[in-house]
């Protein structure tokens, strides 16, 4: 795997509290990478280690296979969770300031910023003062300031907090757009819906540990891979007799329209699904059988509770 960022055995302690304990992960180039976890799990600490705001006690951070140095940080676009903008400055001036700090010329920065302001429908705010903006508006400005120099690696800490659904959607599309243009995006969130929609990889951090890492579809399949939804005509006892030792019924069955019943069954990994289908077809009037993928929300809760 071609990884842009590799984190190896990173630990970080604060007085009396371990924020990160031997965390390792790998971010593939071009991915949208979600860092999930409950509040206080260590997501922000991990991000601050990557941006070198916090120095890890042990472990390494590799960017493009080389240990991260001070200068590398300037190539990263970073939007912290607690948004930082100079309150007394005008919006346009402020965006220009950050863009030029990141190395754009004044003309180039202004040109790109104007385009971004149009795209996010905030062109009218160019002359407004930051202190007059609402939280969501300030978020958009901060987002633009983070991405305007088109860095290869972008890190957003809770990018969707403070946005209404319409603007959150707008932001999601812009994030996917950035990925399509070649950027790698890491973002932390506890909003699972956004993870399903845009992440292709995730790491789940809980109590300072990396408890789950990998591509989203793979995680979902492995977490719920053996659950199936069956639609059939049999009652519960007929169904369980037909399944015999091959599978077990999970939870309640219930009637649905057309005289059918719907049941959830669990087929162990070593069982041949075809034989189960044959048995159901012969005895229960099988209409359909499909694999049920758990939602990221379920996985998140089960992983945090240790029941995955």
């Amino acid at each position: 795997m071609d990884s842009i960022l590799k984190i190896e055995n990173v630990s970080k302690s604060y007085t009396g509290h371990k924020a990160l304990d031997d965390v390792s992960l790998e971010v593939p180039r071009g991915a949208v990478y979600g860092l999930l976890g409950p509040n206080g799990a260590g997501k922000t600490t991990l991000i601050r280690v990557i941006t070198r705001i916090t120095i890890a006690d042990s472990g390494r951070v590799l960017l493009d296979g080389k240990p991260l140095t001070g200068g590398d940080v300037f190539k990263i676009g970073y939007m912290p969770e607690e948004r930082g903008l100079y309150k007394k400055m005008r919006v346009g001036e402020q965006a220009l300031f950050f863009a030029r700090l990141k190395g754009l010329t004044k003309q180039e920065a202004e040109h790109r910023l104007r385009r971004w302001f149009e795209r996010l429908a905030i062109a009218d705010w160019w002359e407004r003062k930051v202190e007059d903006l609402s939280k969501g508006m300030a978020q958009k400005v901060q987002f633009i300031a983070t991405v305007v120099h088109e860095p290869k690696l972008l890190i957003f800490d809770e990018p969707f907090s403070g946005f209404d659904p319409i603007n959150a959607n707008l932001l999601k599309e812009e994030i996917l757009g950035l990925r399509d243009r070649g950027a790698t995006i890491i973002f932390s969130t506890h909003n699972m819906a956004s993870v399903e929609e845009i992440c292709d990889h995730i790491t789940l951090i809980n109590k300072s540990h990396n408890i789950l890492s990998g591509p989203v579809d793979q995680i979902r399949r492995s977490a719920g891979g053996n659950n199936f939804e069956v639609v059939h005509r049999a009652d519960d006892s007929t169904l369980s007799a037909a399944l015999a030792e091959r599978a077990i019924i999970v939870g309640e069955s219930h009637n649905i329209i057309g005289g059918y019943r719907e049941s959830k069954i669990y087929i162990p990994r070593d069982e041949d699904v075809k034989r189960v289908i044959a048995a159901l077809n012969d005895n229960c009037g099988l209409r359909s059988l499909r694999e049920v993928m758990p939602s990221m929300n379920d996985i998140f809760i089960r992983a945090v509770n240790g029941t995955l």
Binding site: T51, R52, I53, T54, G84, Y86, M89, F97, F98
Partner: protein, 427 residues
Amino acid sequence: MKNIYLIISREYLERVRKKSFIVVTLLMPLLMIGLMIAPTLMMLYSGSDLKRIAVIDRSGIVASELVSSAEVEFVREEQLTKDEACRIYNNDSDIFGVLYIGSDIESRDSVQLITNSSSSLMLEENIAGQISAIVEREKLRRYNIDNLETILAEVETHIDLSTYVNDGTGDETTMESTSSGVSYILGIALGMLLYMVIILYGQMVLTSVVEEKASRVIDVMVTSCSPFALMMGKILGIAAVALTQIAIWAALIISASKFLLPSLLLADGAAAGDMMLSAAMGTLGNTGYLASLFAYVALFLIGGFLLYASLYAAAGSAVDSVQDGQQFNSVIMLPIILSMIIMMSVFNDPNSPLAFWASIVPLTSPIVMITRIPFGIPGWEIALSVVLLYATFVATTWLASKVFRVGIFMHGKRPSWSDLWQWVRMK
């Protein structure tokens, strides 16, 4: 380097564009002029109230010689006794008080001023002065000297002491003339200026760093530039604001000295006859001297400010709020306040060992040296002081940047001095 420039210009523009900056910059000179003129105006207007004094003269030589003026009018009373006069000229009359002169003027309690409300120092000096002059003249007259008036006019003497700094040539036209009075005033003014700028603008650096930290802009900033660039940008940006303000004031004063003072001098200078005033006018009217003085001010002001600003930046980076900064602030203030105390002793003897060493040692040198410069200081002392000051600035900036680099990311517990020292030694 480009980033430092961007940060400097951001810090600079944010402050210079504020309305408060423009107002303070323009109002301050007016306020200063007001403070200078106010006492004169107060004297003019408070003295205009005419006081009438009834004079009972038992000696027979004083009353006829007393001269009335705009402040006081003497009214002779031939008939009344002191007690009667006091009874008649009570609060209700238009007489301010009764001046009683006994027959033997020089004996104790012989000259009395009995007033209805408390008299002023000026009035008392006026009366006592006039009476003693009258008595002196009377005594002289008793010697029966011919042409007394001519002799008195002839012996009256006025000495004009010209002071120069010896340059070894013996030719006073090449020597620098001095005036302790003017040096004193200039010294105080410049010392105070540096004191104010270092404290006000130094604390502005502290506040600015703390705000940056509190608003979390710092997280964005440090992923965009190095902490050192951020710190220097802030210090230099605020220094530029201070210099702009002083440059505007200097321009106002220099243009006043070039265009306003010459006409004032023509109008009053000759008539004033006041040595110190005309010396001051001469100094302030010497545009070249003023310009060189401003150059020294700039040199020590920049050096002193940068030195203290780097300490303030380090202190600001270590704390979460301006209040927490007080712990460090009070320690940083110590040498500044010490400079002010030493500055006062400079006026007694600008070349005392204390004054000399305090103007060489970097933490006190900016304020003490700028106070000494108007008195005329050897060039090597100034050069040494400047070199040491700027060398120390480089050293404190290096130390401060080490503290700053760690401090800006620390939140929560207020660090102790030993924590700061640890940060300095961290790789």
